[in-house]
């Protein structure tokens, strides 16, 4: 187990370097960001040259990348164009997005798995068909439609929530945005759990458990659900990264100043420092989430062993 973790951690290094290099090159291809800094007029050449050298943009891409990575390993992610340290931007953006993601994941786990178990045990019954139909609707409606409708009805017409989340983004204001963000994944979790449960219901160990005369609750939670959760956990694990990076639509609608907002702003202003910094952290989140998922397999299914 320990060796497995170490091996996986070591594997992360090339992935990490490759991913950041790719992002770095992509942002660089977009051209000279200084040209867009002075609004609808040309920057005066002396100031532009000075800014270029200050942000290291006058060096070759390789030199820029090496300096950047060197700085990253000392915890310095550079400075955004508005004079703020990228680490400060991260400090304000990541907690908000993490809160939003946690809300979304909690919804996915609670609602998704509950519905999945219920429908999986009652396959073909009316409740199963209803939930299946509902999830189909949720999957086919894009997030921004759900988001805007929720905002219009709950926020403006009925006044139940605030249409825009305040800058500090307290947990209670993130419930509805979190639900909107979770909606599509939630439907997938329901369907995954349902299929998995339905399949494992006929497995030998479940039949054995039933034959032993174990209480129904214990059979479902300990035996059936635990084994059925493997594909679901895989999905949720990869979804963590996707939610954090992909929250941009939800964050825009509800005015949440999180990672999506900073990334959008960074891309619009061609601010390579911000974009590369944030994506670097997101890459790490993805990698760690994947590792945790892999380790969870062994917890869920004792037959899985790592060496």
């Amino acid at each position: 187990m320990g060796r497995y973790v170490i091996r996986r951690l070591l594997q992360m290094i090339p992935v990490f370097i490759g991913a950041t290099l790719l992002i770095f090159l992509m942002v660089n291809v977009m051209g000279d960001p200084i040209a867009g800094l002075c609004g609808d007029r040309a920057c005066d050449p002396a100031t532009a040259a000075q800014l270029r050298s200050q942000f290291g943009l006058d060096k070759s891409v390789w030199q820029q990348y090496l300096t950047y990575m060197g700085n990253v390993f000392t915890g310095d992610f550079g400075t955004a164009f508005n004079g703020e340290k990228v680490t400060d931007l991260m400090g304000s953006a990541f907690p908000v997005t993490i809160r939003l993601t946690v809300v979304a994941i909690v919804f996915e786990i609670i609602i998704g798995i509950t519905f999945g178990v219920i429908t999986g045990l009652r396959r073909g019954r009316p409740i199963d068909s209803t939930v299946l139909l509902l999830t189909l609707v949720v999957i086919s409606v894009p997030t921004f439609v759900t988001g805007l409708l929720a905002q219009l009805f709950l926020g403006v017409n009925w006044g139940i929530i605030e249409p825009a989340v305040s800058p500090s983004a307290p947990l209670n204001q993130l419930i509805v945005p979190g639900l909107v963000l979770a909606s599509v994944s939630l439907a997938y979790v329901t369907r995954l759990t349902r299929t998995s449960i339905a399949e494992n219901r006929r497995a030998d160990y479940v039949r054995t458990a039933v034959a032993k005369g174990l209480p129904k609750r214990r059979i479902i939670v300990r035996h059936l659900l635990r084994n059925s959760l493997i594909p679901v956990v895989t999905f949720i694990g990869t979804d963590i990264g996707a939610l954090m990076g992909g929250a941009i639509v939800t964050e825009r609608i509800f005015n949440i100043h999180g990672v999506g907002y900073q990334l959008y702003q960074g891309i619009l202003r061609q601010n390579s420092q911000t974009v590369v910094g944030f994506v670097t952290v997101l890459v790490i989140v993805f990698l760690v989430a994947n590792l945790i998922v892999d380790l969870l397999y062994a917890v869920l299914d004792p037959r899985i062993r790592y060496a």
Partner: protein, 543 residues
């Protein structure tokens, strides 16, 4: 055992979620009314650090307008430059100016404002090593080329043209005649700065200190700024409310939704999609007034094919092919006004705006347009490619509409196409690298309400924003004469003559003047936009 903990954990989470939703509802507009009432207003994240000489966009400018007062201030209604901190500005030759400031003004931290507060601030703004994006505003002052050379390093750190005479007087020597120089001094870049700006720069940036009607109570970068009325403000334009909370919105649609939900008092950028509902949504609390912004199509005069006598006819023909009233009505919902000259209505007739100066060249006339383009030898290169940046604004729509006009006039489906560029920065790159082969979108937001600002930076030979590199000796001569003229009225006339030269050569096609649009809640009144399309915050009354 594990089952039990699972269930307990889930139950807790549900309880928390439910409890949280329950307290999530309800509005939270705080504060009383009257002169103590605080209003909230939409804001965008400023692109640059909030330094007076480093702020060149509306969002940062908004704050500077509340926190700073300079020598002059532009009247929010008429746009005329009026003395604020200046008691008099004297000159006999339009080169040497003696500026006397009023006594009794202080910064909000108590520091006295003296002639030195201005001179130091201007020197800081001009100094190359400070990277100030508005440094070129000091370019008219003698010694600028030493402090801020185009290439290489600076040989001086202070402008030789600035001299402090005593606490209340300083002199300015320009490097060329510029009679309307005093009227430029209302621009934020010329604001005075307290000594803390230099001694404790990062602290100042995190909470700027100025001398305007408001002080900054708190500033969370990228999210919110709370401004409160400064009780000891010595000026005549004291704030009529208790303060303003500027809230950053990631999307102007959300700001608009918040306004209709009653959580926000003022939105100064109505999203395009809402323009057709805004009148009924806000029942009269909608403002749509001209601002000092004009949109034009510029041409690459560095390409020989655009710099011929024939191409001139083609340019005039293209201008005639554009149906301005129809585009401003259908695409912009009347938030643009068809342009008939190269300035802006906010200047007023006395300031140099002359409706109809463009004449028949800017009037929709497809038959004449076709004739002119034919006579001029057709579109250079055979096809008109109009370049624009596709990342912001709704440039695609109106460019397509213009192309449609041109195609209809010429009876050719492929005569004109839009040429989108991915990002604004790349668009600017291609312009400054002289890569464009056809016309491109150009916009100009005035720095100060002077006809000079609409002509010289844009069309004078090699001027800072002359992106099309149009050049004309007669135009340059007339601008020089106008700048040297000490009499304002005749200076304006000379500028208009120069504008006539621009028209006859169609150096750029004027399209429309942009309006400022804003909406507000019924909690506030007396809301107006100034000629820069920024709300006049200090005059807003809270009920």
């Amino acid at each position: 055992m594990r089952g039990a903990t699972h269930a307990k954990w889930a139950a807790c989470a549900v309880t928390v979620a439910l409890a949280a939703t329950a307290c999530g509802g309800g509005g939270s507009s705080s504060g009383g009314g009257g002169s103590n009432g605080v209003l909230s207003s939409s804001w965008g994240d400023p692109q640059n650090p909030l330094e007076p000489a480093n702020t060149n966009e509306v969002q940062g400018g908004k704050v500077l307008d509340m926190v700073f007062r300079g020598l002059k201030r532009y009247n929010p209604k008429t746009g005329k430059a009026e003395n604020m901190l200046a008691s008099k500005i004297e000159t006999t030759d339009s080169v040497n100016f003696k500026i006397t400031i009023k006594s009794g003004w202080t910064f909000s931290n108590g520091e006295k404002i003296t002639a030195k507060s201005f001179v130091d601030a201007w020197n800081y703004g001009a100094d190359l090593k400070n990277n100030q994006k508005n440094a070129y505003f000091f370019g008219y002052i003698d010694g600028y080329d030493k402090v801020h050379p185009d290439t290489g390093s600076a040989t001086a750190t202070t402008l030789s043209g600035l001299k402090v005479v005593n606490d209340t007087t300083f002199t300015v020597k320009l490097n060329q005649k510029f009679s309307t120089f005093p009227d430029t001094l209302g621009y934020a870049a010329f604001a005075p700065l307290p000594s803390e700006f230099y001694t404790n720069h990062s602290a100042w940036l995190s909470k700027p200190i100025g001398n305007g009607p408001y002080t900054i109570k708190s500033y969370t970068k990228g999210s919110e700024m709370s401004l409160r009325t400064w009780d000891k403000y010595p000026g005549s334009d004291k704030a009529q409310n208790g303060g303003v909370d500027l809230k950053v919105y990631t999307d102007n649609n959300t700001a608009y939704t918040d306004l209709t939900a009653g959580n926000l008092d003022l939105v100064d950028d109505i999203p395009a999609a809402q323009l057709k509902n805004v009148k009924s949504d806000l029942s009269g609390r909608y403002i749509n007034t001209p601002a000092g912004i004009i949109q034009t199509l510029a041409f690459p005069f560095y390409k020989p094919e655009w710099n011929t006598a024939g191409a001139k006819k083609v340019r005039i023909g293209l201008s005639m092919a554009i149906n301005r009233p129809q585009i401003t009505k259908t695409i912009f919902a009347d938030t643009r006004t068809p342009a008939t000259d190269w300035t802006s209505p906010v200047l007023g007739a006395a300031g140099g705006y002359k409706a109809g100066l463009c004449g028949s060249s800017c009037t929709y006339n497809p038959t004449e347009a076709k004739k002119m383009i034919k006579e001029g030898g057709g579109i250079p290169g055979g096809q008109l490619k109009i370049t624009y940046n596709a990342d912001t604004g709704s440039h695609k729509e109106w460019i397509d509409a213009i192309c449609n006009n041109v195609n209809n006039a010429l009876g050719n489906d492929k005569a004109c196409v839009g040429n989108p560029v991915g990002t604004f920065a790349d668009f600017r790159n291609q312009i400054s690298a002289k890569k464009l082969s056809g016309p491109f979108r150009a916009g100009w937001q005035m720095d100060y309400p002077l006809i000079q600002n609409f002509l010289q930076p844009l069309y004078y030979t090699n001027a800072s924003s002359n992106d099309g590199h149009w050049t004309n000796k007669t135009f340059d001569k007339l601008v020089n004469e106008a700048n040297a003229d000490t009499d304002t009225a005749s200076a304006v006339q000379k500028f208009q003559q120069a504008e006539g030269v621009l028209r006859d050569d169609m150096g750029a096609i004027p399209l429309w003047y942009q309006n400022g649009s804003a909406g507000y809640s019924d909690r506030i009144s007396n809301v107006a936009l100034n000629p820069f399309s920024v709300p006049v915050y200090n005059e807003i009354k809270v009920h």
